[in-house]
C-alpha cells in the first residue's frame, strides 16, 4: 500500500509541485487536497497518466462544514480499474462555493455535480446543464446545508417546518443559471 502511495504522491508532486497537498492513506483510499482552480487539471492528469489511469469517477459529493471556514467542500472519489487504486480529492470552497466542472473529463460527473448543486448550492462552472435534480423547479434554498432545517421551512404545505425562510443568495439568483427551471438549453 505504501508503495502505491509514494508512487502516486511522487507523480503528482512531479507534475504539480506543492500546490496539491497529500493527506495520507486511510481505509484503502489515498487522499489529496487541491485548490479549486487546479481540480480539472488534476483530474485530467489522474485519468490520462499512463501509470495512474484513474479512469473511473466513483462519486462527487458536497460537504458543508458549517460553521467552520472555508465552509464548503467538494469531494471527488476516483478509482483506477486497471490498478485497483482509489483516490479522494478534496477541494475546500469559500462562500458562495464555486468550482470548475469536471464534466469534460468524465461524462458521469454530470449528474453528480447537479446533485451537489441541488443539495449544497455548489456552482460547477462550465457544467452544460446545471439544474436541480432532486428538488423541484423553483425550490428555494439548498436542503443539505447544515443551516437548512431538517423539516424544511414552514409554509402552507409544510405546517411542521421551521419558522423563517431560506436565506436569499442574491449573487446566485441573478446569474445566468436559474435555480432550477427548464429554460436552460440542454445538450
Amino acid at each position: 500500500m505504501s508503495v502505491e502511495t509514494s508512487l502516486i504522491r511522487t507523480l503528482v508532486v512531479e507534475r504539480f509541485g506543492e500546490a496539491i497537498e497529500e493527506l495520507g492513506f486511510s481505509h484503502g483510499v489515498h487522499a489529496f487536497a487541491a485548490p479549486p482552480d487546479m481540480i480539472v487539471e488534476l483530474c485530467r492528469f489522474m485519468k490520462e497518466h499512463p501509470v495512474l489511469r484513474f479512469d473511473f469517477l466513483s462519486d462527487i459529493c458536497g460537504v458543508d462544514h458549517y460553521p467552520e471556514m472555508p465552509r464548503y467542500e467538494a469531494v471527488y472519489h476516483l478509482c483506477s480499474l486497471p490498478n485497483k487504486w482509489r483516490v479522494r480529492i478534496k477541494c475546500r470552497l469559500g462562500d458562495p462555493p464555486r468550482v470548475p466542472s469536471v464534466t469534460g473529463v468524465w461524462r458521469t460527473a454530470n449528474w453528480h455535480e447537479r446533485e451537489a448543486w441541488d443539495m449544497y448550492g455548489i456552482r460547477f462552472e462550465g457544467h452544460p446543464d446545471l439544474r436541480r435534480i432532486y428538488m423541484w423547479e423553483g425550490f428555494q434554498g439548498f436542503p443539505q446545508r447544515k443551516d437548512f432545517p431538517l423539516r424544511g421551512y414552514k409554509d402552507k404545505l409544510n405546517p411542521f417546518g421551521a419558522e423563517g425562510s431560506p436565506p436569499t443568495q442574491p449573487d446566485l439568483a441573478t446569474e445566468d443559471i436559474p435555480l432550477g427551471g427548464r429554460s436552460t438549453p440542454r445538450t
Binding site: 462519486d59 458543508d64 461524462r107 454530470n110
Partner: protein, 404 residues
C-alpha cells in the same frame, strides 16, 4: 399517463413531419417506479431524452445526519428495496472501518449469505421484468414464484420479508434460526433448474432476442466514462467485480466466476444477470459448507447490544448497556471513509465523515442506480422509443435508490 403536446409544427414542404414532446411517466409501468422521461420524438425516433428524477427523494443523507449509526440501518433498507441486506452490509462495513473493528467470521458468512440471496432476488425481478416490458409476461410470473422462496428465507432469518435491517455494526442481529440450513439447501437444489426454465422460455424466444440483441450497445470505454458499474459494466466487457478485486468480508475465501460479456447490448446485460444468479447459488452453497460456529456479534459492550436479551431484565450492566446504545448510540472516532461493495446494481459506496459524535457528520450514498440511469444519455444506437424502454429495463434502475 402519457400525453403528447405539440412542440413545433414545421412549415416546410413536408407537412406530416413534426417533432413531438412526449411525457413518459412518472406513473408508467415500464419506468420501473416513478421516473419521468421527457422525450423529443421525431416520428418513432427519440431525438433527446431528459430524465426527471426526485419523485421519491426522501432526504436519506440529510436524515442520517440526525440519526445514530444503529438507527441508520432502516434508512439504508429503503435505498434499493429489492436487496436491503446488501445495503445494510455496505453501511455496516463503512462504520466498522471507521471504528477499526471487524465482525466475527460467522457474522461475515451470514451477511454474505444474505447479500447473495438479495442479489438473486434483485436479479430475478429484472430478468422477469425486462421481458415483461417487451411483452413477454410469463417470465415475470415465474420469477416472482422463485422470489417468494427467497422472501420466505429472509423472513425466516430476520422476521421481515423486505426491509430486513439485519446487520448491526460489528455483526448481525441474531443467529440463524433452527431448520434454516435444510430450507436454504432445498432452495439451492431447486433454483438452478428454475434458471434453466427461464432460459428455455426466453433464450429461444425470437421476439425477445430481436428486441434485445444489438440494441442499446454501450462500449467498454463509454461504460467507464459514464460510470456504469456492476452487471451493466461487465456486460460491456469490463472485467471488474469488487467482490473479487477489492474483496470485503469473506469473499476472498469463496470460489466464484465473474461473468462478463463482450456485446454490451440489452441481451448481454440480461444474460449477465442470469449467469450471476448461478454464481450466487454457488457462493451460498460455499457459505453453508464453510460457515463456522462462533459468535454472531462482536464482543464489545460499547458497540454491540447485549447478546442475551433476557439479561437486560435482570442485570444492571446489561440494562445500562442496552439503554445507552439505544438512546445515545456509540461514538465513532473522527475520520472519513469511503467504503464500497458490489451490490446487485453495481458499486454501492458509503462515504461517511465522522466528527467523533454518535451521529455521522455527513453520509453520502454512492448509489449505483443513480449513475446507471444517467447512462441512458450515453446509449446512441437505440433510436426507437420502444428500444429505449428495452434499454431502460436492461439498465435496471431502482428508483428508490436513484432518488435516495
Amino acid at each position: 399517463m402519457t400525453e403528447v403536446t405539440e412542440l413545433s409544427c414545421s412549415e416546410s414542404d413536408a407537412p406530416h413531419t413534426r417533432e413531438v414532446l412526449l411525457n413518459l411517466g412518472p406513473q408508467h409501468p415500464s419506468t420501473h417506479g416513478v421516473l419521468r422521461l421527457v422525450l423529443e420524438l421525431d416520428g418513432e425516433y427519440v431525438e433527446r431524452v431528459d430524465p426527471h428524477i426526485g419523485y421519491l427523494h426522501r432526504g436519506t443523507e440529510k436524515l442520517a445526519e440526525s440519526f445514530t449509526y444503529t438507527q441508520i440501518f432502516p434508512l439504508t433498507d429503503r435505498l434499493d428495496y429489492l436487496c436491503p441486506p446488501s445495503n445494510n452490509l455496505a453501511f455496516a462495513l463503512a462504520v466498522e472501518k471507521l471504528l477499526g473493528i471487524q465482525a466475527p467470521v460467522r457474522a461475515q458468512y451470514i451477511r454474505v449469505l444474505m447479500a447473495e440471496l438479495a442479489r438473486i432476488s434483485g436479479h430475478l425481478l429484472i430478468t422477469g421484468a425486462l421481458p415483461m416490458d417487451l411483452g413477454a409476461m410469463t417470465a415475470l410470473l415465474y420469477a416472482m414464484r422463485e422470489r417468494e422462496m427467497i422472501m420466505d428465507l429472509l423472513e425466516m432469518i430476520s422476521g421481515a420479508r423486505m426491509h430486513t435491517s439485519f446487520c448491526r455494526v460489528g455483526g448481525v442481529r441474531e443467529d440463524l434460526p433452527d431448520g434454516f440450513f435444510s430450507k436454504i439447501r432445498e432452495f439451492c437444489d431447486i433454483f438452478p433448474n428454475r434458471i434453466r426454465d427461464y432460459e428455455r422460455l426466453l433464450d429461444s424466444n425470437r421476439v425477445f432476442l430481436k428486441r434485445t440483441q444489438g440494441i442499446g450497445v454501450i462500449s467498454a470505454e463509454d461504460g467507464i466514462d459514464l460510470g456504469l458499474s456492476g452487471p451493466n459494466l461487465r456486460a460491456s466487457g469490463v472485467d471488474w467485480d469488487i467482490r473479487r478485486d477489492e474483496p470485503y468480508e469473506i469473499y476472498d475465501r469463496l470460489d466464484f466466476d465473474v461473468i462478463t460479456s463482450q456485446e454490451g447490448d440489452c441481451y448481454a446485460r440480461w444474460r449477465c444477470r442470469v449467469e450471476e444468479m448461478r454464481e450466487s447459488v454457488r457462493i451460498i452453497e460455499q457459505c453453508l459448507d464453510q460457515m463456522p460456529d462462533g459468535p454472531f456479534q462482536i464482543d464489545m459492550p460499547t458497540i454491540a447490544f447485549p447478546v442475551d436479551k433476557d439479561r437486560v431484565h435482570c442485570s444492571m450492566e446489561a440494562l445500562i448497556q442496552h439503554f445507552d446504545l439505544s438512546a445515545y448510540g456509540f461514538k465513532v472516532p473522527k475520520g472519513e471513509v469511503y467504503s464500497v461493495i458490489e451490490a446487485p446494481k453495481g458499486e454501492l459506496g458509503f462515504y461517511i465523515i465522522s466528527d467523533g459524535s454518535p451521529k455521522p457528520f455527513r453520509m453520502k450514498v454512492r448509489s449505483p442506480s443513480f449513475v446507471n440511469l444517467q447512462a441512458l444519455f450515453g446509449v446512441t444506437n437505440a433510436r426507437y422509443l420502444a428500444d429505449m424502454i428495452a434499454v431502460l429495463g436492461s439498465l435496471d434502475p431502482v428508483m428508490a435508490e436513484v432518488d435516495k
